[in-house]
C-alpha cells in the first residue's frame, strides 16, 4: 500500500443529460492527470449526467456497476488510475428507486460505491423528491490506503465524516455540486472536517451554470492540519494535482489528538437529544 501519492482534482462542467460527452471529458481529464503523475482522479457529484436533472433523472439513472461504470472501470484499468465520479444510481431491485451515488473504480476494476445519506431538500435543492438516501458510510481498502467517500451536503453532518474516519479512512473524498451562495459554508466545513478527523480531505466541486445555479468550483485537497495542499480556480474548469502523504497525519494526530480524546458516551447523548429535537 502506498503512503504517498498524487491526487487530481478534476473540476469540470457537465452537460446535462449528455453522458457520452461527459464521459469523454472524464476520459480526457484522467489521461491528462495521469500524465502529471496522478494515481487518483476525482470528479464532481453527478458528473456523468449533470446535477439539475429534475424528472429527466428517471431516464438517466443506471445501475452501478452498469454501462457508465463499465466504461470508467476500463479507463481506470487502461490508465492504471483510481477514479471517483458521481452518477444517479438505479436500484437493481426496483424500477424507479434512485440514489445519488459516488463510485470508486481502480486499476483492477470496480472497488465500491457510496450512496449519499443527507439529501438537501430546501431552497433550490429537491433531492429527496428524487433520491432515496443511503444508510451506510463507505470506506474502501485500496492500493492508496483506506479511502472514504461522502457527497456534498453530507459534509454539514460531522458524524458522516467522523464515522468514515473511524472506519479507518485516512483520505475522505467529498464530491459536490455546490452553488456559489454556499461557498463560505463549504470553504469552512471542508477544513473543519479535515482538522477534526486528522485526515486528508479532497473536495471536488462542479463548475458552470445549470438552470441559473452557478457552481463555484474551488475544489481543494486539505491536509490533516487544515492546510490547503492544492486548490483549483473558482468558477472555471480546472485540473489541479496535490500530494497525499499519510506520514503527515502522525505529527498532527500526536499533538492534536482528537481521535484519542473522543468521548463515545457523548454519542449516546447526541442520539438521545437528536431524537427529541
Amino acid at each position: 500500500m502506498k503512503e504517498k501519492f498524487k491526487v487530481a482534482l478534476a473540476q469540470i462542467t457537465c452537460k446535462r443529460g449528455d453522458k457520452k460527452g461527459n464521459i469523454r471529458k472524464i476520459e480526457d481529464n484522467v489521461v491528462r492527470a495521469r500524465k502529471q503523475g496522478a494515481e487518483l482522479v476525482i470528479f464532481p457529484e453527478l458528473s456523468v449526467t449533470g446535477y439539475v436533472l429534475r424528472d429527466q433523472i428517471y431516464e438517466l439513472a443506471e445501475t452501478i456497476p452498469g454501462q457508465s461504470t463499465d466504461i470508467l472501470e476500463k479507463l481506470a484499468g487502461k490508465t492504471g488510475t483510481h477514479i471517483v465520479f458521481g452518477l444517479p444510481e438505479l436500484s437493481d431491485k426496483t424500477q424507479a428507486t434512485i440514489y445519488n451515488a459516488a463510485v470508486l473504480v481502480g486499476p483492477d476494476g470496480f472497488i465500491g460505491k457510496y450512496r449519499k445519506m443527507y439529501l438537501p431538500t430546501h431552497s433550490v435543492f429537491e433531492e429527496k423528491r428524487y433520491f432515496r438516501p443511503g444508510y451506510q458510510t463507505a470506506v474502501f481498502e485500496t492500493e492508496l490506503g483506506k479511502i472514504g467517500l461522502i457527497i456534498c451536503y453530507d459534509i454539514f453532518f460531522p458524524e458522516v465524516s467522523r464515522l468514515t474516519r473511524l472506519k479507518g479512512a485516512r483520505l475522505i473524498i467529498c464530491i459536490s455540486a455546490s452553488p456559489v451562495t454556499r461557498r463560505t459554508f463549504f470553504e469552512t466545513l471542508t477544513t473543519a472536517r479535515a482538522i477534526e478527523n486528522t485526515a486528508f480531505l479532497a473536495y471536488v466541486n462542479l463548475v458552470g451554470i445549470e438552470n441559473g445555479l452557478q457552481f463555484w468550483g474551488g475544489s481543494r485537497l486539505i491536509g490533516p492540519n487544515g492546510k490547503v495542499v492544492a486548490k483549483t480556480k473558482y468558477d472555471k474548469e480546472d485540473l489541479m494535482i496535490g500530494e497525499v502523504d499519510y506520514s503527515d497525519i502522525k505529527p498532527i494526530e500526536t499533538f492534536v489528538p482528537i481521535l484519542k480524546d473522543l468521548r463515545p458516551e457523548l454519542f449516546d447523548k447526541l442520539k438521545e437529544n437528536a431524537e427529541k429535537l
Binding site: 424528472d55 458552470g208 445549470e210
Partner: protein, 280 residues
C-alpha cells in the same frame, strides 16, 4: 436580524461577475446570436443593457427605444443613448404611437379613461416589438425587471416582464442602483425616480405608496421569514403598511408563474411536469 440598509449591501464586484457570467453562458449555450432589450432610459433597462454589452460583444446587443407621444421624455432618450454609447451597444428608436392608436381605435370596448388597461396595451406593444426584433435577429430578449417590482407584482403580465432571461431580477431596486453605480452608470441615471412609462407623470413610488428604500427592507425581511410585526417595529412603520406589502407580494404570485390549470392527467405542465428550464 437587524433590518438596516447595510443588509442590502453586497460585494458588487462579485455580483457583477455573476451577472456577466450568467448572461454570457446563457447566450452561448442557447446558440443565440445576440441580445435585444427594451431601453427606456430608466435605471433597470440601462443596467440590464450595460450588463448585456459587458457580457457579450456590444455589437451583438440591440437596445430598442420605444417611446410614444403621451409619455415622451427627452431626458430618458438622452440617458438611453448615453448608456449605449458608453457601453458600446446598438440602439434603434421606433415611435410606437401609430401602433397604439390603431389598438385604441380598433378595440370596440376601448375606454380612454381606464389608464391601467390602456397602459398595459403600451407595455405589451413594446413587448411585441422587442420579440419581433429578437426573432428576426436570432437573439434573446433580456428583461430588466428587478426584485422589488417582481415581488410587488408591479409589472404588466406578458408585457415588460416578458423575457428569455432576467439577469437583475434577484436584486432589489436600491441594489440595482448601487450596482449601476459600480459598473459606471452616472448618478443622474442611477438615482432617477422609476416609472413604467404607462401614462404621463406615472411614478413607481407614488403608485406603490412607499419609498424603495423602505420597501426593499420590508421585502428583505419577508424574504428572510421575518414576522411583519418585527419588520414594522424595526423600521418604525405602521404594522398595516407591512401587512399591505406582504399581502400584495403573496396575492400576486399568479403574475409570476405559468398559468394554472386543473390537474387531470398523469403529469401536468406547471405542476408536476418538472423539467430543467433548459438543457444547456
Amino acid at each position: 436580524m437587524e433590518l438596516t440598509s447595510s443588509v442590502l449591501d453586497l460585494n458588487w464586484s462579485e455580483v457583477e461577475t455573476k451577472i456577466r457570467y450568467f448572461i454570457k453562458d446563457y447566450v452561448e449555450k442557447s446558440g443565440a446570436e445576440g441580445i435585444v432589450l427594451g431601453l427606456s432610459g430608466g435605471i433597470d433597462s440601462c443596467t440590464a443593457a450595460a450588463f448585456s454589452a459587458l457580457a457579450i460583444d456590444g455589437e451583438k446587443v440591440l437596445g430598442l427605444l420605444l417611446p410614444e407621444q403621451e409619455t415622451y421624455n427627452t431626458q430618458d432618450i438622452d440617458h438611453a443613448k448615453f448608456v449605449a454609447e458608453k457601453f458600446g451597444f446598438k440602439t434603434q428608436m421606433i415611435d410606437i404611437t401609430p401602433t397604439l392608436r390603431l389598438f385604441y381605435n380598433t378595440i370596440p370596448v376601448f375606454e380612454i379613461a381606464d389608464k391601467i388597461c390602456k397602459g398595459n396595451v403600451k407595455a405589451r406593444t413594446r413587448m411585441i416589438y422587442i420579440y419581433y426584433y429578437a426573432n428576426r435577429l436570432n437573439s434573446l430578449v433580456c428583461g430588466s425587471s428587478d426584485k422589488s417590482e417582481v415581488m410587488m407584482g408591479y409589472f404588466t403580465k406578458w408585457g415588460d416582464i416578458a423575457a428569455d432571461i432576467s439577469p437583475i431580477m434577484d436584486l432589489f431596486k436600491t441594489q440595482v442602483r448601487k450596482l449601476a453605480r459600480h459598473i459606471g452608470l452616472p448618478k443622474e441615471i442611477a438615482t432617477k425616480p422609476a416609472s413604467p412609462m404607462l401614462w404621463p407623470g406615472q411614478l413607481a413610488e407614488e403608485e406603490l405608496g412607499i419609498k424603495y428604500e423602505t420597501l426593499d427592507l420590508i421585502l428583505y425581511g419577508l424574504e428572510h421569514f421575518m414576522e411583519p410585526e418585527e419588520i414594522a417595529k424595526q423600521l418604525g412603520l405602521k404594522r398595516e403598511l407591512v401587512d399591505k406589502m406582504k399581502r400584495r407580494w403573496l396575492y400576486l404570485e399568479h403574475k409570476r408563474g405559468m398559468p394554472l390549470t386543473t390537474k387531470i392527467e398523469y403529469r401536468t405542465v406547471g405542476a408536476d411536469f418538472r423539467l430543467p428550464h433548459t438543457f444547456y
